[in-house]
Amino acid sequence: MDNQAIYKKIGSIGFGLLDPITNKKMSAAKIVTPELYDREGYPVDGGLMDIRMGVIDPGLRCKTCGQKIKECPGHFGYMELARPVIHIKFVTLILSLLRGTCKNCGKILIPPEKIAEHAAELKVLEEEGGDEERRKFITDIIYASKIATKCPHCKAKQQKITLEKPYTFLEDDKRISPIEIRSRLEKISNEELAIMGVKGESARPEWAILTILAIPPVTMRPSITLETGERSEDDLTHKLGDIVRINQRLFENINAGAPEIIIEDLWDLLQYHVTTFFDNEIAQLPPARHRNGQPLKTITERIKSKEGRIRHNLAGKRTNFSARTVISPDPMLSINEVGVPELIARKLTVPERVTEWNLEYLKEFVKKGPENYPGSNYIIRPDGKKKKITSETQESCVEELQPGYVVERHLMDGDIAIFNRQPSLHRMSMMCHKVRILPGKTLRLNVAVCAPYNADFDGDEMNLHIPQTEEARAEAEQLMLVQTQIISPRDGLAVIGGTQDALSGNYLLTGETEFTRRKAIEILSSAGISEFSRLPKKEKITGKEIFSILIPEDFSFRGETKDGHPLIIKKGVLMEGRMDSANLGEGAGLFLRSIHKQYGPEFTADVLSKIFKLGIAVLMQHGQSAVLSDLDLPHKTKESIKKIIEEAEEKIDDLIVEYKKETMDTLPGRTLKETFETKCLETLNKARNKVVNAVSDSSVEGSHFENMVRSGGAGKFLHLTQMAACVGQQALRGGRISSGYKDRTLSAFKKGDLRAAARGFIAGGFKDGLKPADFFFMGITGRDGLMDTALRTPKSGYLYRRLANAMQDLRVEYDETVRDSGGKIIQFQYGEDGVDVSKSEKGKINVKRIVENATGGKTQSRQSRDVRNSPEAN
C-alpha cells in the first residue's frame, strides 16, 4: 500500500524493567478518574477510555496520532499510585535481593573473597540455568555462611526476612512496607546487582515496586456493544476501574489525614487490585470476579495456557480456503485423487490471473457467478481491491475484467489440494491430492490411502486445503503428491498397498485358476486395462497370466509369499507363487518396493491402482461371502481339538496338585504362585495354538474365510479358530483372571478353584455358544482393553508432542552429521550408519541386487563389501 516503509535490521533485543520516568514519558495521558464516558457516551478526558490512548469507536479520531480506528495502534497512559505496591511477578527477585544484601548499606552479605571462590561454579550455573539459578546459588551461600546475621562491611545486624505469600515481606515477623522495601533496594549499587545477576542499568530492582502504573492502550481492551445498545467493557478495563477507584480513595484519605489503620486497609486493597490486574490466578488470593461470579481474565490469563495468546493465536494458526467433512470410500478414484462435493467446490476458490490469452475463458467463470458451478466468487483488481461477484455486480464485473485482474474461480477437477487427517503424526498425514468434483456431501478417497492417514469410515472427518499461489501448488505437487509418499521414511517400505478385497481378489486370481480368453479380457477391462497384446494367444488363460499383464516386461523379482513359498517373477511373468499381503500389502511388500525403485513413483501408483481394481474385478466375478458352514469342522478335527483341550485341562489339574503340595520347582525370581500361574498360561496358550493349527490344517480348501485369511486381506486363523473351536484364555494384565470375589472369579465357582474354566479359559467357540461365566470373562477383558486405549492415547500423544517439539529443528548436514539449529552436533553420523532409510529396504541396502544389476545378472561371490561404499547405495 504505502512504499515509504523503512527497513531496519534488528540487532538485538534487551529486556528490562520499566522505570517510572520512562513510563511517564511514553504515556499519552494521565488517568485520574474512574469514569469512562460522559452523558453523551463520549469518552471522558483523564478516564480509562480517554481518546488520547487510542480509539475503538468508528468516527472518532485519536487525539495523540490523529488516526482513525484500526489505523491508530493505541498509546499507553499512566496513573500515579498513592502508595507504592509490589509487582507480583517480581516477588522472588525482591526476596532474594532483600535477603542477600545489608539493610543498612546495601552491600552483599558475603565478603568479596568468598564470591571469587565460587566464581567458576557461578559461571557454569549461569550458563545452564540463567540468572535465576545464579541468584539462588548466591543467596544459598549467604544463608550458609554464619556472618549472614551481621553485615561484613558495616557490621549492621541483619534480621531474617521471610515472604508470606503472595506478597507480604516479614522481617522477624514484622511487616516491611513496600516504601521501606523500595528504599532498601535503592541502596544496592549496580556493581553489587551485577554479582546477583541483575543488570542495574536496565532493571533497577526498586522499579519492581510500582509507583506509577502503566495503563494499557484502549485498543488492547476494546469494549463491545451488545444488541441492547448497552456497552460491555473488557475485563482489563473493569480491573483498571477498580484500581483507579481505590487509588482515589487512598489519596483522599491520606490528604484528609485519616487514621493509619484505614490507610493500611486501602493500601492493601490497592495492592490486591494491582496484583490481580497482572495475574488473577494467584493461589493464595481469591480471584477478582464479575458480578455473575465468573473470574476476570487479566493480563497473565491472556497470555498463558492453551487458550492464551501464545498457543492459541501465535502457535496455532487458522486458515482460509479449507474444508472439513465426513469421509467415505470410492474405489473408482485413483489413489492420488480426492472427491470433493460441489457444495464445497463453490466455496473454495483458486485465484487465476487474467492474461490476454485466458480472458475469454475466465470471463465465463465470472458470468456464471457464485451460484452456478463452475463459476467464481471474487475478482481482484490490480490495485488489490477485492470485489464480490453478486447478481447485481455480475455484469459490471464481466465488463471491467482485463489482463492484470485476478479471478477467484471455483475449485475444479485437477486442481491441487492438500488432504489431512488428525492426529497428523507423520508426514503422510498431509498429502497432496488432485481434486475430483463429485455429487454428494462427503470427501471421498481411495481405500488404499486409508493406511497412511489411519482413516476409516465410521464417521471420520478430514480436512482439505487449497494452495493459493503457483509456488505453493508446485511445492505441494512435487513434494507431497500421494505417489511421492508411497515409500515410508520409517523403514523404506510401502505405506500404501493392497488391503482387504484387493488382496483377496489377487490371491484368488493368482491361484490355480483358469479363464476363457473372453472372461480374462472382461476382468482386465473392468480393472481399467485396455492393452491386451501381452495376453498369451490361447483360448484358456490362467490367473497368473492375467496378473502378469500388470508387471513390466523387464521386471524380475524373487520373494516369498506369506506362507513361506517362493514367489518368482521372471521378465514380467509371474512364474510361481500367489500374490498376497506379504508382497502387495502395506508395510511388507518388497514387491512394491522393487517396482518403485525400478520404475519410479508415478508408475508404482499406476500399477497399484490397477492391482487394486483387478482384485476387486476378480471378486466381482467370483463372489465373496462368508457362510456359517465355512466354520464347520470335520468330525475328525473336532475330536482332536476336544482331545487337545481335555489334555490341557488335565495338565492344569496336575499343576494344581503340584502347586498345592508345593512340589513345584519355582522359576528363577518368581514365587511359587507366580510360577504356577505362568505355567498355567503357558499350557493353555500352547493348547490353543495346537487348536489353531488343527483348524488351519483342516479348513475347507477354497472357502471364503480361508481365502481371506490366506491372502492376508482380513483376519487370521486365530479368529477362525475362535469362531469355530476355542476362544481361549482371557488375559488380564498379563495373567489369568483372578480377582472378582474372595478367592474366586465368580460366585459360580468354588473358593480357591484354580482350574482353567474358573480362571477365564473359554474352551468353546463362538459358533457353539459361550457359557454364562465366559461372557463375564470376555466382558472383563473387553472393558480393560477399552480403558487401556482411552488412557493410553492422550499419554502417548503428549509424549509425542514433546518429542516432536524437541527434535523439530534437527537436520542432517551435508557431512552426514545431525545438528540442531545452533550447529551443535547431535549425532556424528545419521543413524550411525549414514543410511537414508527411505531409500533402503527395511533399513538395509540390497547389495546383492545392486551387484546383479551392475553385472547383468551374473552374481559375484564377493558380497561382503561394505554397504556404505557401494556407489549405487542410494
Binding site: 567458576a120 561454579e121 557454569v124 557431512d815 552429521t817 545438528r819 545452533g822 550447529g823 551443535k824 552436533i825 547431535i826 549425532q827 556424528f828 553420523q829 543413524g831 550411525e832 550408519d833 549414514g834 543410511v835 533399513g843
Partner: protein, 80 residues
C-alpha cells in the same frame, strides 16, 4: 556388592579413549566446528574414572551399533 572389577572392563561400557591434541584438532577441523558444538560428557562420568582427563579434552567412544556394526562418536569433557 563391592566389586573389585574396574568399570572400564565391564562388557556394557564401550571403549573410551582420549584424543591426542593433534587428533583433536583434526577432528574439529574435519567437522568444521569448535569444542562448543561437540556433545558433552562430565569429567566425573564413571566411564572416565580411570582416565586422566580434564575439561576441554575430547573422548572417542566406540561401541556396537544396531544399524552399523560398530560406531564411533565423540564427547567433549566438561567440569561438573
Amino acid at each position: 556388592m563391592t566389586s573389585t572389577k574396574k568399570t572400564s572392563k565391564h562388557e556394557l561400557i564401550p571403549v573410551h579413549e582420549k584424543l591426542s591434541d593433534t587428533e583433536k584438532e583434526k577432528l574439529l577441523s574435519a567437522l568444521g566446528i569448535s569444542f562448543r558444538e561437540i556433545p558433552k560428557i562430565r569429567k566425573n562420568d564413571p566411564a572416565l574414572a580411570e582416565m586422566d582427563v580434564k575439561a576441554g579434552d575430547i573422548i572417542k567412544i566406540s561401541r556396537k551399533s544396531v544399524t552399523a556394526k560398530n560406531t564411533v562418536f565423540y564427547r567433549g569433557v566438561t567440569d561438573v
